[in-house]
Symmetry: C2
Subunit: 301 residues, 2 copies
């Protein structure tokens, strides 16, 4: 995911440092010891891959609000585990039946369908486990809203519901509001939750929370529109996953609905509104969030 | 699940009343509104079926300790949602490939594999959501240990891990310790968690907690041995699920390991130890827990 705009050196350094910290934390929490190869499948699904966008959103939001760093890292990893499990299940033959992810064979290709199913299930449980450590390092009054945000964004009104709509929409023509509603659930909910979980590691005023919610929503939309654009314009090597699969599976996308050029303008507008929400929030230390938004909205893979 | 021993009228009444309360609570929390038929699949997976053993264990333990009734009902339903999701995923073609559950077609037969996968995923998220209600009706200091118990029992060191071992053990000969270890994870962990989540709705002394943990472990073992016995001795109509499937799929069971008679004696000993743990706990109001143990250990379906 290379940004097409000028990135500041400090953002590039922050991103690399944070990605490495997330990788280390994930590696320490997703242990190989789980029985009968399950731990190996879980680690394969989670480690050494991905842009870690969701964890970065949690960390950047928490840092902008001077939030609790321990809770933020746990929240960052919990969101990534939900994302990782959703990819494992999404790639299964009964769903998208995909064989390539992050440039590697998908989990079920490597470990078998049953193990992939279980690895996804166990990753979801682990995501919640991370938020409620026995050592009390996440205060209960913080852990509870974090669990709530995660559960709501992952469940039937969030990601899982969005995937159900996605399945049902194959071969259908959706209008713009219906397409937006689907993606608000399918990818938007977890991206927005990443921002709000970052915010939940700190005391946040209702005004700031409202703008961060808007930021998360616009960022989620921009992310998805760009995803649809890249599915058409990029190749599989560039994406690390199968390109062109939306069109091949006859799924409605922003590009199929409005064409490539309008979709790009639409993504630009969503990105602009994300920046505006940050400006309206009045937060002083949100350079990294601005940069993350550009990274999402102007990425080429 | 009819007990073969004399049940007191008060236990039978308590059980019926509690099962009905659980059914109502589940129906109010698993809503049909989830998009694209997902809500229907979730309700089909959860409602109108099952003995509700796990919820009854939560409620009975909480009542024995004069625990918080609101938290207990949420905990009871959360455990049942985890159990229900595990059955949906377990029945999928890539796992046990079963078509009959609780006397009805399995979820994937009725709604398709993809929807069954998503319904299971969404039920797991909902299980955690129930424990962290926005209205604060479960105090954070109670919600956090409840979430932890649930996550640990459902995840790689609990149920999901046990299922991975189960998959890997097809066609293998396990010795008694290995078979026990598998079932301690696969079914035991969630049954024990049910008891301990009931306990977590109250202040519980370490001594009482230790005995309740032993009670849960022995009950879980008795449950599984009887399950293996019934798989051989009962028919599908009686069980509401496919009988004889362990033998058909060449899975190691307590019966295949030690024969029918020894398995029955083994179940009896586990049940006896469960009763002993309750007696050692010093709890005064645990008649219902004793009766639940008999109901599990002496059931004929």
């Amino acid at each position: 995911m290379n940004a097409l705009t000028n990135e500041t050196a400090s953002f590039v350094a922050w991103r690399a440092r944070s990605q490495q910290a997330v990788e280390q934390a994930l590696s320490s929490w997703v242990l190989p010891g789980a029985p009968a190869g399950l731990g190996d499948a879980m680690r394969y699904a989670v480690l050494d891959g991905g842009k870690r966008l969701r964890p970065l959103l949690v960390l950047a939001t928490s840092e902008a609000l001077a939030g609790d760093a321990v809770a933020a890292m746990r929240a960052a990893c919990s969101v990534e585990l939900i994302h990782a499990y959703s990819l494992v299940h999404d790639d299964l033959p009964c769903m998208d039946n995909d064989v390539l992810r992050r440039g590697k064979p998908t989990v079920h290709v490597k470990f078998g369908e049953a193990q992939a199913l279980l690895a996804g299930d166990a990753l979801q449980a682990l995501a919640f486990e991370l938020l409620v450590p026995e050592d009390g390092s996440v205060a209960p009054v913080m852990a509870v809203p974090l669990c709530r945000l995660l559960a709501l964004s992952a469940g039937a009104d969030g990601m899982a519901g969005g995937q159900a709509v996605d399945l049902a929409s194959v071969g259908q023509t959706l209008d713009l509001p219906a397409l937006e509603a689907m993606h608000r659930r399918k990818t938007g909910a977890l991206l927005q939750a990443s921002v709000m979980m970052g915010a939940a590691t700190s005391e946040t005023s209702p005004q700031v929370a409202t703008q961060l919610q808007r930021f998360g929503a616009c960022l989620g939309l921009a992310f998805q529109v760009v995803d649809d654009i890249l599915d058409v314009t990029a190749d599989s090597a560039q994406l690390g996953k199968t390109a062109g699969k939306d069109a091949a599976s006859d799924k409605p996308t922003f590009v199929s609905l409005m064409g490539l050029e309008s979709a790009q303008q639409y993504a630009d507008r969503a990105l602009e509104e994300a920046h505006d929400a940050l400006s309206q929030s009045g937060l002083v230390h949100c350079d990294v969030l601005h940069s993350l938004a550009d990274w999402v909205g102007r990425r080429d893979c």
